[in-house]
Amino acid sequence: LETFVGHQVLRIKTKNEEEVKQLQLLESLEHLGLDFWINPSAPALPVDVRIPAASVQSVKAFLESQGIAYSILIEDLQDVLDKEKQDMAESAQ
């Protein structure tokens, strides 16, 4: 059973085409294991991305070094999954 302990979901807000291009570059880096829930496309649209625990530091460092704004949408995905599982069990009862 795959767990998502430490996986974070970030919402990234880009200011211009240049920042969108940088996120598209990030998207192509397969070793980071990123799961884009909303892909980078235009500056006006936010980008949501799930980041495995092992890649969180490097992605944040990349964003901060480029001055790209982000916020944490989901702090720890496994916490949300556990809550969902608990809700389902209660509902089933």
Partner: protein, 309 residues
């Protein structure tokens, strides 16, 4: 085993077996509802659709599917609520009655059953099919990048490990090919509607290119009317537009294929989900999401019913 019509809880998430059992129940409860099998998934699970038909031969039809991206659980759940709504309101609701007196409706509530089972057993965030890719350690294809519509173009990945991998060839995924074959052999579909969930959008073609479809004005106006119907219930705001303008360029998508194959009214819904919970929309929001979605779908279906082409 005797079941009462009220035993299924539409306000909670269910396993594939429970969903299939409920499809049987709907088909047994209503004479104009039939459970049909349109194919088999990669792992050989049946692809079940509900056919709503009050008679006639090869009537014009509407297609509705959900759950092609397996982790978007609120779509499969909404599809079931909607199926029950249509079945139970026929004969009492004028709009549904006149629709089904003129047209057939096909509803595929779990378009990617292998992925759906996988989200229940191994990886809640699984989005793709479960087909094995020769020469790769990674599994699965994004079934909404696998249609024969700009296949392999921008917005789809050629890496089997990517969440948006387009697959080795168009229709390589049996789940996609089954729908394609069914729609082609039927030959009289007038609308193709698909339910996804994330970030509240209502989109029409194109996604594989950033140009407007020939029916842009009508689709835009109908999309806005549907979004307004959705908003009327709980105030949920949907953004309307082409896939390319609204979200991003994405090739190999189902509604582009449908539109390019002559099905004018092709729309993709992205149901309510602010991102606060990711794809884990709390169960308490299933019925509100289904209710508001139904209003948008109904608005489109009424238009399709009245504007035969």
């Amino acid at each position: 085993r005797q079941r009462s019509s009220s035993s299924f809880d539409f306000g909670t998430y269910h396993t594939l077996d429970d969903i299939n059992e409920e499809l049987d129940h709907l088909a047994s409860e209503y004479s104009f509802v039939e459970k049909i099998q349109i194919g088999e998934s990669y792992e050989q699970r049946p692809l079940y659709a509900l056919k709503f038909s009050t008679g006639g031969r090869n009537r014009p039809a509407i297609w509705l599917d959900a759950g092609i991206h397996s982790r978007e659980w609120v779509t499969q759940a909404s599809a079931l609520w909607i199926a029950n709504k249509i079945a139970s309101d026929y004969g009492t609701d004028d709009s549904i009655t006149s629709l089904l007196d003129k047209m057939d409706l096909f509803l595929l509530p779990v378009a990617n059953p292998d992925g759906f089972v996988y989200t229940h057993t191994s990886n809640r965030m699984w989005r793709k099919t479960r087909s094995k890719i020769p020469g790769s350690v990674c599994v699965g294809v994004d079934p909404n990048r696998n249609w024969d519509a700009g296949f392999g173009g921008p917005g789809a990945s050629n890496s089997p490990c990517s969440e948006s991998y387009h697959g080795p060839s168009a229709n390589s995924e049996v789940e996609v090919k089954s729908v394609v074959d069914f729609i082609k052999s039927h030959g009289n579909f007038k609308a193709f509607l698909t339910l996804h969930s994330y970030s509240q959008l209502l989109m029409y073609p194109y996604g594989y290119k950033c140009t407007r479809p020939d029916d842009y004005a009508e689709l835009e106006s109908l999309g806005r009317a549907a979004a307004s119907s959705i908003r009327s219930l709980y105030g949920t705001t949907f953004q309307v537009g082409t896939i390319c303008n609204t979200i991003y360029q994405a090739s190999g998508g189902s509604i582009d294929w449908a539109y390019d194959n002559g099905i004018k009214y092709s729309f993709a819904f992205e149901l309510r989900d602010t991102g606060r919970y990711g794809f884990l929309l709390p169960a308490s929001q299933i019925i509100p999401a289904a209710q508001e979605t139904w209003l948008g779908l109904k608005r489109i279906m009424e238009h399709v019913r009245d504007k035969s082409y």
